[in-house]
Amino acid sequence: MNLTVRYFAAFRELTGVEAETVNTDASSPSDLFNECAARHTGLQKFTSSMVAVNDEMAGWDSALSDGDEVLFFPPVAGG
């Protein structure tokens, strides 16, 4: 399946990529992140990183479907 992956803040700076299309068999955002980390040296999952799928917060072990947009969020720090 084809997915769009978007990186934010520290993740964008670590990968040097804002968004990319990936062809993958990853079964979950967690698997997908590990695949991306294998391609992007320096990309690592900080504790309390979060993920959203199609503009909804999601679990790291949730299901993925063709065409999904997966958003990887490093630890948030609003306020």
Binding site: E13, K45, T47, G59, P75, A77, G78, G79
Partner: protein
Amino acid sequence: MNPFEISRQAIDLAAFRERLLDRSCGAYVQFDGWVRDHNEGQQVLRLEYEVYEPLAVSEGQKILEEAKQQFGVSRACAIHRSGLLELSDVAVVVGVSSAHRGEAFDACRYIIDQAKIRLPIWKKEYYANGNAEWVNCQRCSEAGHDHEVLTARARR
């Protein structure tokens, strides 16, 4: 006007307060978050907020609704800044009005606490020594924490 907003401009606190006015309310609680000149032993010169606005706004609205439901307050609004901020700028404002003060304090506290942990907003601090760091990321990395640990927070 949306109860939860992201603003690239300085927040107009007087206009914000007007939105919370309600004749049925005897209490108004406002929390302002300011840009502080230090953090974790570093001298901070300014900071920058990156916001993923579509989700920050929808999640922000949810937090405000939760606060109204849980504490029974009449009105709740918040504005969070994005972009570059200088020292003492208002980074976030939360306002709650209600019939009595107790629930207004509680709801205000709930909103700012939830906003800090749930909204897709990132803060980059610029230091006097010339460095800049994403808060909660660099130090985590340097400390050698176990980055394989998945800590997807359980969604309600």
